[in-house]
Symmetry: D3
Subunit: 135 residues, 6 copies
């Protein structure tokens, strides 16, 4: 049960409405989900969080579906029920198939397992892995 | 510091050598990283874990690079130093660019943040998100 | 659904009643919440856990409201539904305003994000941060 | 070992320098810590993350020291070595005493314990806790 | 609410039925729980996961009850509601008493607390602990 | 690097010495590990934490080795380097064999994997699992 009530468009202040409007325009849908309506209780948090999501989830070097898959993997690892549902739906709408979802779950489960093997055995990092991205 | 020592090929039993050989053949490299050499202390675990990794990380509905990105996102969320280094290296070898790595970190960080907003406010799942994958 | 049933005062053994009585006296309320009634299935755990809570959450160098805010931040990070509800209520009763709750959520979300950026990039600790509390 | 190298002021692009300058001006110090110098590899992430930190950690309904304590509690729960060191240092510079640090650790440890008791026993949320912040 | 529906025996493909049959034979019961029926949406994952569980949870150097206790401890730490219920039931059927469950919860809670004290204070590992299992 | 220095016996106050003495007497060894020497910076925390450990880890319905195995499983799941080393050493001294350690790692890894499958698919708890411990 939500700790604070969702704020509907009609009851929202202008600053909140402006964010809802931008969510609708960016996503090309009238639907604004509960996440935003609850954050709207703190208009600065709503605006900041939406700005972050809009910027980070936009097409870039990674395409939007891959970003949604990553989002789901993190949400599953942390057990965020809301985020699993909302980002699985977003991934589905961007082309995720049931086969892809199954593989996403398989990789997520496997990584959670091998993370514990590596941490549990305290395995030393191989020298050649140390800085793959260093210039 | 590893709790048990890595087992080198020369000192390995036949069952362990067979796994090392398959890792080398599958990955088309002579390099076997510490992870496997430490798991080799428990040959059944080595064989089982490698079978899982080989099957799950193979090309499928998701391509191998996307699978590596998901692996890194989970490893970062769980703070597995070894896995971050090894799978960042694997992703890099499969085509990950620095821009892609930056976006991967950005999505991972964002998901970790919004997971806590959704969990902290105890936000109710929107009805339309409930079962996107149900038939 | 709780794995074991709550134990009501009337049905409780003397050792359990003594803890319930001390909870009521310390908190100046007749209300004993489910947490304690469930722990009462293991009287030694009930007594030990209450002793810890009573000692740790008492006024000290940090005031009780700050302690409740910290408690909520940890509970949100771990996704403990019960603890989020019970400690948000406790914080509210000690003076937490909706503005403070919003800022608490914002800091908690931000820390969860930047924790992953620092861990994901494996950022080296600056020398000057190493031992701020060392004598 | 950092996956990407820190970017020093002299080598930084104008957009990165602007963020470093704002960090220095906001914090009234010449010191820019590694966290920002590593994020600078992705200038958009640097700018966005700094904007978030600057806004969220500013004085508000919660004072800056309380915000730092919350930050440390989350970082300890997630085991972010970098963040524990950097935010413990920040808290110390804002007035945290060793006694306060000890109590912060005590509350963080206690919450991590009772989170598992509540989750492990699957304790039902008391009705009166359900919506303390609802209007 | 499950993201995908459970697949009943009657509606299952031959490969899925073979796994269900082996679960029943191994466990000496007709009951197949939801976990397997949901994984059956991805037959390869079903077969792989069951093979892992069958091998890992079999009697070995640790007896099956001890393995179930460890499973519950991890599931409580990660807050997996399904796994807490299913493995508490499995442990109970293998001889776990309420007293043992209470002690299991107590150790799990204590470890979660002291993990944060050790990580929070960044305590150096004692030399004599470094490699207890090294030859 | 520890945030605060360890406190040696010779430099310790009487209340701290009393705890060290009890640790030595209970464990039948002169060795006091860093964990306690660091907590000694907050004598109340030292006394409380030791009282908890002494009570929870004592022989009971579960034997001390099983308790140490559970401790290690939790510490691996949370990635507490110190606790993995110290409790693996404790388990080893109480009879844990390398085979047992391997199985402990295997169960811990498996549980971390299936926890994510159950949470990710949002699998409904089977009715018969609901309350195995209820009277």
């Amino acid at each position: 049960m939500a700790l604070v009530p969702p704020i509907e468009y009609e009851a929202a202040a202008a600053a909140v409405r402006a964010v809802y409007d931008d969510i609708r325009a960016t996503r090309k849908t009238d639907f604004v989900n509960h996440f935003w309506k609850v954050l709207a209780n703190d208009p600065a948090m709503l605006a900041r969080t939406w700005a972050n999501v809009k910027e980070v989830m936009a097409p870039g070097a990674l395409d939007p579906l891959v970003k949604e898959l990553i989002y789901v993997a993190v949400s599953v690892t942390n057990n965020c029920e809301y985020c699993i549902h909302s980002h699985a739906a977003a991934a589905y709408s961007k082309g995720m198939t049931p086969q892809m979802f199954g593989e996403l779950m398989a990789v997520t489960a496997l990584a959670n397992a091998t993370n514990r093997l590596a941490n549990g055995y305290r395995i030393d990092v191989d020298e050649r892995f140390a800085s793959p991205l260093a210039p």
